[in-house]
Symmetry: C2
Subunit: 453 residues, 2 copies
């Protein structure tokens, strides 16, 4: 995929304003490529406030054919710690079966996979247009939490109208255990600041006689989970939908070796740990969590400084599952912080944007069954359903457009996305492209079959 390498050379780091011109270049690059590939309608949406997105449409010849909207993103993660890369992150390399570079897997590689799928589909069907009307929507703010996504959907809803969304920003379970994803967790980020005073105080002078905000914040964090690891926000679990027996069975049949899983996912963790009564996959995919992402306060340099910190800060994120909602979790958290703020401490809670709602589609949904069949044909092996522990704008997209949303991805969990030395496995992208081509054909055939009296 030499063209993918060209795209990967553009450092479209959306979270860094210095790279916003690169995000624009990246959108322009994609638009140019789509035009070269023959897409008749190509637009760069660059009116702000969102970073540039690319929209394209290729109508089917049959005006009654279904419309499929493929969602992906072209912005990429920052590259820190850059010293841990084996090569410059924006000078992609082909090493054996892999393409290495920032964005190779997340998400330029998967968008390129769909571009390739169109070519394969047209070649295989000897058509000059795809069997379904294809729409492509590639945003530039996914790694920033898609802050203007709702606004874009408001403004551009008509252009995005479709019968099915294919969301291409999730991975296969393993190379030897291909899966179809059926959901992503939501996420809510919060920063809690506990202020005791306006400046640090020498602990010989006031130690034992004024509140210590770091101690108070530790007590709040400690109270966030009970001894079993269950989250203690009141009513937190009220809306949690249990997975079906069939889903649990699918998850249970996926290969799992604790040591191997830890090695690939645990960042050096020594053992798994989590809510009793659930497997590791269930903890990751169908159970909500509250994680301290960062904590700071007082003197944190080398050596010692005997002070009482003026303030302490914790960044905490919640991963949410259907049918939880970030708004309700926000209210629960604010109440919890209020209840755990001792006298003499002032608490401030800052929520990151609106949060990302969770999304899941039933494995029994007809669209999902078709996706599974397409992936089985491409990979030539049995495919199970799984979910993703991460988050994305799927729920917002699905709710706004009011049609089913399915997932089609061909990357791997150990592609080192968001980390140094990101890579993508090219043979998997090719199979993913084949699966997409099958999917479009089958969706068109199913539509035609429906019309047969």
């Amino acid at each position: 995929m030499p063209t993918l390498c060209d795209w990967l050379r553009i450092p479209s780091i959306g979270v860094d304003p210095a790279h916003h011109p690169d995000v624009r270049r990246s959108a322009d690059w994609l638009a140019t490529q789509l035009k070269q590939d023959g897409w008749p309608e190509v637009e760069v949406w660059d009116e702000g406030p969102a970073l540039p997105a690319v929209f394209a449409c290729w109508p089917a010849e049959d005006p009654d054919a279904p419309t499929v909207l493929v969602y992906g993103h072209h912005d990429v993660q920052p590259v820190d710690p850059v010293g841990k890369w084996e090569h410059p992150p924006f000078e992609p390399r082909v090493v054996g079966e892999e393409i290495r570079g920032r964005g190779a897997s997340d998400d330029k590689g998967q968008v390129a996979m769909h571009l390739l799928a169109v070519k394969a589909h047209l070649a295989a069907t000897k058509q000059s247009a795809p069997s379904v009307t294809l729409k492509l929507f590639v945003e530039g703010e996914e790694e920033s939490g898609s802050p203007h996504f709702r606004k874009t959907l408001e403004d551009r809803g008509e252009r995005l109208e479709c019968d099915l969304v294919v969301f291409t920003d999730t991975a296969l379970h393993e190379r030897d255990a291909p899966t179809v994803n059926t959901g992503q967790r939501g996420v809510l980020g919060a920063e809690i600041v506990f202020e005791g005073g306006t400046e640090d105080v020498h602990s010989g002078r006031a130690g034992g006689a004024i509140p210590n905000p770091a101690t108070a914040l530790a007590k709040l964090i400690a109270a966030l989970h009970d001894d079993d690891g269950r989250i203690q926000l009141p009513h937190f679990y009220d809306d949690v939908r249990e997975p079906s027996a069939k889903e649990r069975e699918d998850y249970g049949s996926l290969p799992f070796d604790e040591r191997d899983w830890l090695k690939r996912n645990g960042g050096g963790a020594q053992k798994t740990h989590g809510e009793p009564g659930y497997t590791t996959y269930e903890r990751l995919w169908v159970r909500p969590t509250a994680e301290v992402n960062g904590i700071s306060g007082g003197y944190t340099g080398p050596g010692f400084k005997t002070i009482i910190p003026a303030s302490a800060t914790a960044k905490i994120s919640f991963r949410l599952v259907p049918d939880q909602h970030p708004d309700r979790t926000t209210a629960q958290l604010r109440r919890f912080v209020e209840d755990h703020t001792p006298d003499g401490i002032t608490a401030t809670v800052t929520i990151r944007g609106e949060g990302v709602p969770p999304y899941a589609i039933s494995p029994d949904d007809p669209a999902n069954a078709t996706v599974k069949k397409a992936v089985e044909m491409a990979f030539d092996q049995p495919v199970r359903f799984a979910r993703a522990g991460g988050s994305g704008p799927a729920a917002v997209l699905q709710q706004k457009l009011g049609v089913p949303l399915v997932y089609l991805g061909a990357t791997l969990p150990d592609d080192r996305v968001h980390a140094p030395n990101e890579r993508v496995v090219v043979p998997l992208l090719l199979k993913g492209a084949e699966a997409a081509a099958h999917l479009w054909r089958m969706l068109a055939e199913a539509e035609i079959a429906k019309r047969v009296p």
Copy 2:
């Protein structure tokens, strides 16, 4: 005190190796000054590993007169945040009654006070030598926690032999409420590191399925105090000596206004807080504490990063009171950390040096009664006993030399020591010098009285 200003121009910041030559210059300056003042024996102890200390001796004419050793230090605190100083910290200024500059109060000013006392004493008594044999020991590592203090006492014990130590590194309670200090808390600094893995992990990928070291550390910190604020290390309070009824009465009779105390000591804290059943002064002076001095882990920059931190670190210091000992507290802490380290977390506890033991002398000790009388004569008002919440090498000095140790200080708690714009109030130093001169005279008289059959 123009000579004090000369001394304050030397930036003898002992904790900063770049300033070690200045610590040496500071010792040399003091030695030169002592010689000029007529002290017959002056030595700079500069053989390492301790930073240079100054020793001087001025024998009394009466070979049977008691020997008094005055302890102080000539190293000073760093000056950060330097931007908050109203003038360069090492360009001292005389403003009204004050001398302002780093070290003015802590502790060069108080050492200078004793030099002045000798001159006053000789002038008043018309003697060519002091009534008692005076020894002066001014170390250069106090602000570094006196790491080589024990070794110096081992090596130089004979030179330091005396009948009484006068420790001059504590303050009066208030300008209008002069006090004689009777003790300092000890201190034990510990750093606790909780490691879960070797690198931060994306929380979408492992959130809920591996241990979070920041959460685990928060639980440990939360468990350090019960809801009443009592410290939960097993046997922590076993050795705590309760103050006498007389001491509590003295502390209770000192002026205390919560708002005013917070304003001057609380760094902007909104209210006092501490162990039930004790006043603020008792919490500060006769009760031990455990304070989180700093906490850090994971992502602490602006915005959000949804990770599980690889590790989290807390710096915790304990202030200890007689008859606690840093060694016993260390053992209790190590055990406590062991008991609160969950599966999958590796804990490391690092102790700062050997810790500083607490020290207190009874208000009823005869030496202390004499100090009180000397201060009352100089200040011409009633003097009460108090203690200090901070720490110093008094206990080590007292134990090694095996003689009583009393305190004589004439600075103020709001001299902004360890902070920008440190100052000393000159009229108080002059009264302190007068008190010292009285003290020496009275000690000599008491010794002579003893000899009268």
